[in-house]
């Protein structure tokens, strides 16, 4: 074997023998005819150990099959093979990764395949990484497709849920409208007999149907008080129901804030005086809202009677007016008292229907609990807002904001 290599050209031979790649020549049946020192060292064989061996015995098992099914047919049919990845098997049984180029040609009356094996180190790692990345990408792609499908399905479900929610919302709205209509009708129907009760009590009190005793007169006063209380509750319910049913009409017009506040004062003055609460109004006469003055008065009356109810003697209730917004596009009316105040955690609830701050207050201050709810609904109905600030034992401030009438 060494003779074959050495009897051509000493210089080239020794170069070939120690070239930085393995070299092997083998016949069609795989019998090795020559091998260089580099290959022997690569695989840990002594040169004479390769004598008579078949190339396949230098391959790992997977590469042996590949050699028989791909490599050999390729070289035989095509005469050459390039960049074929093969795992060689060293004498000690280790895999040696190589890239192989081969040429099959006739030499010395025999078909010989000359092969060089270049070791691959880093390249194999890169290829492995590439294959792994490719597989990962394929898997990710499949997963993405699965997710896309799932998303499509959940989108469909969401659409269906949305439709279901829309149906339920429609149903709820219908139910709410029915409730408001029912409340409006019932309140109206209840007022008629209550008014009849009130009328007949008056007739009796006036003695038109005959003289009454002092005890009877006292009872009539109680009946009358209860009747008025009930009537007030029902009116509140009716108002709320009307607002919710969208049956309230707003007659919007320029209204002087001061005039509206002054108009309400006589209605609460007796209460203020009897409770010993001081009262003051500070509103510039030019402040004008574009609003429904009856509704504003209703709101103010509610705010003032609340303030009066919850403010102890020697306390004070003040109404102030001011412009609001960057261009003065809104006006503000603030009703401030020095009353018991509302705990912070309850403040948001005071606008909910049927809520009063607590039972003890409810007992002390009569009312349906609808006043503030109605007031805020009315304020919003006119394009305004009603908000509250409060501190326990310091007082409360209710701010009614309304659209201003801007000078054109």
């Amino acid at each position: 074997m060494t003779d074959r290599l050495s009897d051509v050209d000493i210089g080239v031979d020794s170069l070939l023998d120690t070239a930085p790649c393995g070299f092997v020549s083998f016949a069609d049946d795989g019998t090795i005819r020559a091998a260089n020192t580099t290959l022997c060292e690569m695989l840990g064989y002594a040169r004479d150990e390769l004598q008579g061996r078949r190339l396949e015995s230098l391959l790992n098992l997977g590469s042996r099959i590949f050699y028989q099914t791909h490599f050999f047919p390729l070289v035989k049919l095509h005469g050459r093979a390039e960049e074929i990845f093969l795992l060689l098997r060293s004498k000690s049984g280790d895999d040696v990764a190589t890239l192989c180029n081969a040429v099959r040609r006739q030499r010395g009356g025999e078909w010989i395949t000359d092969c060089i094996f270049t070791r691959v180190y880093e390249r194999q790692k890169f290829e492995d990484a590439l294959l792994r990345a490719k597989k990962a990408a394929e898997e990710a792609n499949e997963q993405l497709e699965r997710q896309a499908m799932e998303l499509e399905m959940s989108e469909q479900q969401l659409l269906e849920q949305g439709e279901e929610l829309e149906r339920q919302r429609t149903l709820a709205e219908e139910a709410n409208r029915a409730k408001s209509a029912f409340l409006a009708t019932m309140s109206h129907e209840l007022r008629t007999p209550l008014n009849a009760i009130g009328g007949y009590v008056q007739l009796l009190e006036l003695g038109i149907q005959g003289p009454i005793t002092e005890k009877q007169a006292d009872s009539l006063v109680r009946i009358s008080r209860a009747q008025r209380h009930l009537l007030r509750l029902i009116n509140d319910v009716l108002n709320l129901a009307r607002i919710e049913a969208g049956r309230v009409e707003y007659n919007l017009a320029p209204c002087s804030l001061k005039e509206m506040a002054d108009a309400v004062l006589p209605m609460v003055e007796p209460q203020l005086q009897s409770r010993g609460v001081r009262y003051s109004v500070a509103i510039a006469p030019e402040l004008t809202a574009y609003t429904d003055h009856e509704k504003v008065q209703q709101i103010l009356l509610n705010l003032l009677s609340n303030a009066t109810k919850f403010t102890p003697a020697n306390g004070s209730v003040t109404v102030t007016g001011s412009a609001d917004g960057e261009r003065g596009e809104r006006v503000r009316l603030v009703v401030r008292d020095t009353g018991v105040g509302i705990p912070a955690e309850r403040l948001a609830q005071v606008f909910e229907p049927f809520v009063q701050v607590d039972d003890s207050h409810a007992r002390r201050a009569e009312g349906s609990g609808l006043g503030l709810a109605i007031s805020r609904d009315l304020a919003r109905g006119m394009g305004g807002e009603l908000t509250a600030e409060s501190e326990v034992n310091v007082g409360s401030a209710f701010t009614l904001t309304l659209p201003a009438l801007l000078p054109t």
Binding site: D28, D29, G30, T31, R54, E56, N60, L61, G62, S63, R64, I65, F66, Q68, T69, H70, F72, P73, L74, K76, L77, H78, E82, E83, I84, F85, L86, L87, L99, E127, L130, L131, K134, K135, E138, E139, N141, E142
Partner: protein, 303 residues
């Protein structure tokens, strides 16, 4: 893992699988199926028929190559036989658009190809020469329609490649996985090597064609599935039922089909003849065509 064909290495299949925007009646398998089933199989499996004899000799290639591997052997039989060569769907110049992953995930699917070719040409009294895995594919076909076969000639057969003690197949599962990895690596390299080679020879189309013919399976997905169908198969249970006389051509030093396997086949298959060749390796029809031809001739003349 191989759910999607990689963009470079699946050159042929990607062309074949992609629907052409312009319908091409010459290549459309649908058109051919609807008008002439026979023609469609002949095109699909790239069937070639030649020779002056009447008795059909059907050569079936093994895994990793195509009908070209028979070119050193078939001329010797052209005077006395009708020689038929073909490519399995997914190999050689078969119609890759006809590739059905499910059908070709087992050897039974490949046996259907053999029977399709036989039916298309209405062959009887067949001598089937199968290399490697095609020995078992031929066996499966012969078990289905034994009346059509006269002889089975098996070149380097193995009914099972993976050891199953006491049965010795020669390989462990991890060895086959090593093969799959080696294939995977080389299909990267081949695609890179092949594409510029073809482009470089654009002025010599015959060279490009030869290149393509030399590469029996350039689609890594198909090749991998064929490898799995081949090397994970177990056809030991199909051997005893064979009703066709067979020749087992056992190479002297075949790492893929070791001597024990040839013995096992001979023991298990009735009417079988075992011939041990001087030829070494797994492809005696390529490495030792003369001896291969001689052994086949001798067997056929001894009938």
């Amino acid at each position: 893992m191989w759910g999607r064909l990689p963009p470079v290495a699946c050159r042929l299949s990607s062309i074949a699988h992609r629907p052409s925007p312009i319908p091409d009646s010459h290549q459309s398998p649908v058109t051919m199926y609807s008008f002439n089933m026979d023609t469609s199989v002949l095109t699909r499996n790239n069937v070639r028929v030649f020779g002056h004899g009447t008795q059909p000799m059907l050569f079936a290639h093994g895994f990793g190559c195509d009908q070209n591997m028979w070119r050193y052997v078939t001329p010797a039989f052209a005077d006395d036989y009708k020689v038929i060569v073909f490519d399995y769907v997914g190999s050689g110049k078969s119609d890759l658009s006809a590739y059905d992953p499910k059908r070709y995930s087992t050897l039974a699917g490949y046996a259907e190809d053999v029977l399709d070719v036989i039916h298309s040409l209405d062959l009887t009294d067949i001598i089937l020469v199968g290399h490697s895995v095609s020995s078992m594919i031929g066996l499966l076909a012969a078990n289905q329609e034994p009346e059509r076969f006269a002889r089975l000639i098996m070149v380097g057969p193995s009914p099972r490649y993976i050891n199953d003690p006491p049965y010795v197949g020669g390989f462990e599962r991890k060895d086959i996985e090593g093969l799959l990895e080696t294939m995977e690596k080389n299909y990267i390299g081949w695609a890179n090597f092949l594409a510029p080679a073809i482009m470089k020879n654009a002025d010599r189309p015959e060279l490009s064609r030869e290149l393509e013919e030399s590469f029996c399976s350039t689609d890594p997905v198909i090749a991998r599935r064929f490898a799995e169908a081949t090397f994970f198969s177990d056809n030991r249970a199909d051997l005893a039922g064979i009703r066709v006389p067979s020749l087992i051509m056992q190479c002297s030093d075949d790492l893929i089909a070791p001597f024990d396997v040839g013995e096992y086949l001979h023991r298990t298959m009735p009417q079988s003849t075992l011939r041990v060749l001087q030829a070494t390796g797994h492809c005696p029809h390529m490495s030792h065509p003369e001896e291969t031809i001689g052994v086949i001739r001798e067997y056929l003349s001894g009938r």
